[in-house]
Subunit: 397 residues, 2 copies
């Protein structure tokens, strides 16, 4: 929270601790805050006033005092500000507004191919988002935007980088475009990291080491190490869809390489295998319908895809020793077959110490997992030290 | 540094910031420290006195003042305290003392099989370590011990867990034993993590995402994510020696499984392949001598081992997107052949975005890399908030 090397010019670093303490929701008096932080009482009083004015804390009750008049208590107020979450998929866009507690207030959905390009897709996001913000919130409500994109994103700039299924988006300034339209910072990450954040914050908040794997038209992973999304040197950690699967040299991948995991185990590959076996399927949705309908070939193919994914994940398990692996995306959500295949291989092939207490489960997030994850990412930013400082400065002006 | 949820009972959390600021070595006045932390001047003055008494900072010079008498400046003093580093290998033990700046003051080495058990090995460490501490340091010098063991270590307890080459060590309380003997905290980790820490702190201090791979009698990795060793849920992250290598089902591993990476690519496997080819080698040291002597079979086998290791590392590259991969251990250090094999596969098989700026290099640490790494781990602990608080309390009593 406080980087001693980076704060030489900031005199308020310790002050920002007050809000970070109050974020847990527990009410405290000014006197308690002074004791907890070691800050002078006058500093605490001024800071509490600034946070009240900014609408980040509220006066909640009066604590019984040892004599004299009772002391006021203050606690986090997550209802006065919020964020816009944006989930852009291969063929849809989905936006929603949540408050700073993560409560989704409203959302809307549009069938919209990402291949239409950034002007068309972000144009809809800006139009629908602006209308939604105007109708459902106050002028000062919005603090940040979170966006998930279906391709690799350079973390430092928030720009998509060589995204295979997003023609026209390469290095497009998504954060700049949305920040200009909405006047607040926009955080952009790939859709898998965004879903992983939503899944973890909602269902596994105490798990520090987790691997989320999305199986859809592609395959990607979100890796948590020490409670944070691990992005890696270029921000593309988790991009396991193009790991080479030995023995599959004859399978061509859309990326130009051969034997990639997603070319043999993602939705379109499963559909192709089923067509070869004479089952009438076209899209991943058809595969899901066949699985849920009990088609034995479909079940077998999904389980085999689970085994191939499990084969790649055994290396991930040995390398990162997660406590939980969550399989997400529509193929994972349909029955337990993908899960069963992955479990079979991971539990057999990994070292007993790594699998002894390893949980391998399927996603609990539903249709709104991606948009909720995007909100979650934006909230994290909105509650950071820098954002809180910016809000306090804005209000003071 | 300050966890708002965990510090409810500690009133000194913000005070500990003063020492953490001074750790960068830059001298500062009391007045500058008050500005940087927001703490009351009286709090700063008391804290500076406590740190001086504890021997963690020193008064270094007098800053020119704007009038009146010049102000004293204070800076980190890393010479008055230090740590003991312990590197236990399959057939040796190596100990050394360094000060808190990481300067190795003295070290000694003993040929000692780890299979002799903890009493024998730790007995030597205690005897030789006590003599060394007594001869080379003052009574109050030692602040922590760092230990690297050649097997998996449970991070929370520092105990070896089912270590394959360490009979008699399973769940032995290594930290408890050394803490009782030396009266300071002992940190225990596996030797690969310990070497990885030494390598990074010494040569790649600004690299946050790094993978260190040790190739010796076994194969293991130390993974840095966000600048820290990633240990995983059971503390066994990096244990890649038993990842299954497809196509090698016929090779039996000492772990009871088949096709494990270290059964096909570590020192003993390379030696076995060479013997089959009629080259007279026994130990990994013989392999190294053959490679350095230019034996064409030996060079070929080491390069092939590099390719197999590279094959497993392609998954690691896609999953974690490191900036640097360092190949360490004696086999990697002998020539560039292991490196060449690994590079060949990783640069060909991983996605271009992940390899575009990926450096794959061999270790720069020499014979003392492991003991220096153990010291480095102990120093990190000795300079942590909790250790500094403990030292200040000890001195005040």
């Amino acid at each position: 929270m406080i980087d001693p090397r980076g704060q030489e010019t900031l005199s308020g670093s310790a002050q920002s601790e007050i809000f970070q303490i109050l974020r847990d929701g527990k009410p405290r008096t000014r006197s308690e805050l002074a004791t907890l932080t070691g800050l002078a009482r006058s500093t605490v009083a001024a800071r509490v006033d600034a946070l009240l004015t900014a609408g980040l804390i509220q006066s909640v009750a009066h604590a019984a005092s040892t004599g004299g008049r009772p002391s006021r208590q203050f606690a986090f107020d997550g209802t006065r500000h919020g964020v816009l979450g944006v989930d852009i998929g291969a063929t849809h866009a989905h936006i929603g507004i949540s408050d700073l507690r993560g409560e989704l207030l409203v959302d809307t959905w549009e069938s919209l191919p990402v291949a239409d390009g950034p002007e068309a897709v972000l144009g809809w996001v800006i139009e629908a988002g602006t209308a939604m913000v105007k109708e459902h919130t106050s002028d000062t409500f919005l603090r940040a935007i979170g966006v998930g994109l279906p391709g690799p994103v350079e973390h430092a700039t928030g720009r998509p980088v060589d995204p295979p299924i997003m023609p026209g988006w390469d290095r497009f300034d998504v954060p700049g475009c949305l920040t200009e339209a909405f006047g607040v910072p926009a955080l952009v990450d790939n859709d898998v990291n965004v879903m992983a954040m939503g899944e973890r914050n909602e269902h596994w908040p105490d798990v520090d080491d987790m691997l989320f794997v999305k199986v859809s038209t592609g395959i990607g992973a979100g890796l948590f190490t020490g409670g944070r999304v691990h992005r890696g040197a270029q921000g593309i950690a988790g991009d396991i869809g193009h790991v080479f699967v030995p023995g599959k040299e004859d399978v061509q991948c859309r990326c130009g390489s051969v034997g990639c995991l997603e070319a043999v185990a993602a939705g379109p590959a499963i559909a192709a295998h089923l067509r070869e076996a004479g089952v009438d399927v076209d899209t991943p949705q058809d595969v899901i319908a066949a699985v849920l309908g009990g088609n034995i070939q479909a079940v077998r193919e999904v389980r085999e895809a689970g085994r191939l994914i499990g084969q790649v994940l055994t290396t991930a398990v040995s390398l990162t020793n997660p406590a939980v692996i969550v399989l997400g995306g529509p193929i994972a959500a349909a029955g337990d077959h993908l899960l069963a295949g992955a479990r079979e291989v991971i539990y057999t092939r990994s070292t007993p110490l790594a699998t002894g207490s390893l949980q391998i489960v399927k996603t609990r997030g539903g249709d709104k997992a991606a948009v909720a994850g995007a909100c979650s990412m934006a909230i994290q930013h909105a509650l950071s030290v820098d954002s809180v400082e910016a809000l306090i400065r804005d209000v003071a002006l």
